[in-house]
Amino acid sequence: MKVVPLQKKEKVLGKVYGKRRYDLPLNNNENTRFLVILIALMSFLATLGLSGFFTLGAMAERWTSGLKNNLTLEIPAETKEGRLLSAEEMTSLTQAAVSILSSYPAVESHTVMSREDIQKLVEPWLGEGTLSAAAFPLPGLISVKTKPGTERKSLEALTEKIHSAVAGARLDTHESWLRDVLRFTGALQFAATLLLATIALTTIIAVAGAVNARLSVHRADVELLHLMGATDRYISRQFQRHALLLGLAGSAAGVAAGSLGLLAIGWMTGEMDVNLLPQHRLSLPQIISTATTPLIIALLAVMAARQTVLQALAKMP
């Protein structure tokens, strides 16, 4: 093995470091570590916030997708006076409803649910086996699919028509339920957006504060660079490059930790078998926005640094 003389080695090192040369000693300070940790935490939160945003969107989608354009027509099993209808009576009422539905233009399709289907639907509430007795009164249910873009007026007319033919029939449009779900998830998504905005603002303020502190620490050196003919842009580039490195390091770590956290949460909810939550499948927009979070945060840091330095330098001779 050839031993490189120290002098030469030093020169090589000098060249390597030359690429990462700082005109101001920005890279060796405790403030740096503080800022990296802060940015990492912010990125961690941003990852969770983003995931919350997308999960809420998926949730709303899942809860509503099955319901849009879907109606349920319910034929009660007893009259207003409380008399149970006979099987024949039920069949004839169902027939009447079906004939209206078949001829109604806005209806795309309809399915009369069999006794077994209905039984399956109510079983969780009433317990298995309780319905084996065929005599147990069950309402008639017809699931109706309307054509996309059907207007509310048209549905009201349909309801009217069915009411006159089948006394006590109920047409459930799920509309109020839909509205509530969308309003609820919308509000939560708005909260998530606020959280993301707060994170961005905090990052900007922290970077600006750190840059101002460093500027006053290195004021003499900054002045010297000015006296040697450095432009404001030249000096701010020093800070921008530094902010970029810190921002990338911090946010990459934060987003990585955040993603691990999400995996853990996903695993926990998977174990719980919560039917309300959508399957924890990552959507493409979520993957893209999570992957670009470090870049966006680093970019915010760079812009904050640039703005702060240029403003401060404009006040210097």
């Binding site: 040369r21 101001l24 000693p25 006296l227 003919g229």
Partner: protein, 232 residues
């Protein structure tokens, strides 16, 4: 190149350090600036390298009134001026090499050119062995030579040197003075603040003498004799 008209300078609410300074330095001239300690030599230099604006009077540098100068124009003028600060003002977080290379990097010279120019210059001032050493680990004289190398590396049109030989022995002092003369011959205008009587005697250039805030110009005896010889 440099024109001062009725220039006064005070720091804050203190007394006037410079009062009614008047002089003109032609392009390509070489002047010593001398006077007792505290007379205001450094302050005068400060005005010349645009480190401060005068509190009164008119300073014209490279044909431009510095009071009315825009920021961008100041940058262009500062890039044409090399300064050796009395207290060196080296950056202690970077190597000797990088300190000297800094003014070249600021003006965006290609790295290859920087490598060869800076190495050559450092060899010349006797610091070839210390290129990768941090300045604050070196002696006062060595640091002074780094400061000088940094000031001349861009071949400035105007070189302002504040006590550049204060920490150097006579031999190196003379060697550097002859470097300055060489620059002067290539067109650089020089102002060198110094107390060193021997050096001023050896290199006969006109002197700007500051005393109690007033500046007088004294032609060197050598030049006077030459002028007298020309008369007869």
């Amino acid at each position: 190149m440099i024109r001062f008209e009725h220039v006064g300078l005070r720091y804050g609410i203190g007394p006037e350090v410079l009062s009614d300074i008047n002089f003109t330095l032609a392009p390509g001239s070489f002047h010593f600036l001398t006077g007792p300690s505290g007379a205001g030599k450094t302050s005068l230099m400060n005005l010349m390298y645009l480190g401060r604006l005068p509190t009164r009077g008119l300073v014209t540098m490279f044909g431009q009134n510095i009071n009315k100068m825009k920021r961008e124009d100041m940058v262009a003028i500062r890039q044409r001026i090399g300064v050796v600060f009395q207290d060196f003002r080296l950056l202690n977080h970077m190597s000797t090499f990088d300190n000297v290379a800094l003014p070249l990097r600021i003006v965006g010279k290609p790295e290859k050119e920087i490598q060869s120019n800076v190495s050559e210059l450092l060899e010349w001032v006797g610091l070839g062995e210390h290129m990768n050493v941090l300045p604050n680990t070196m002696s006062g004289g060595q640091q002074q030579r780094i400061a000088i190398a940094r000031a001349v590396v861009t071949r400035p049109r105007l070189l302002l040197a504040d006590e550049p030989t204060g920490n150097l022995d006579d031999e190196i002092g003379e060697r550097l003075l002859s470097l300055f003369e060489q620059l002067n011959r290539m067109g650089t205008t020089l102002v060198i603040a110094t107390h060193n009587q021997m050096l001023m005697d050896k290199f006969p250039h006109p002197r700007l003498i500051l005393s109690k805030g007033i500046l007088t110009i004294e032609e060197s005896k050598f030049n006077l004799r030459k002028k007298l010889e020309g008369l007869f």
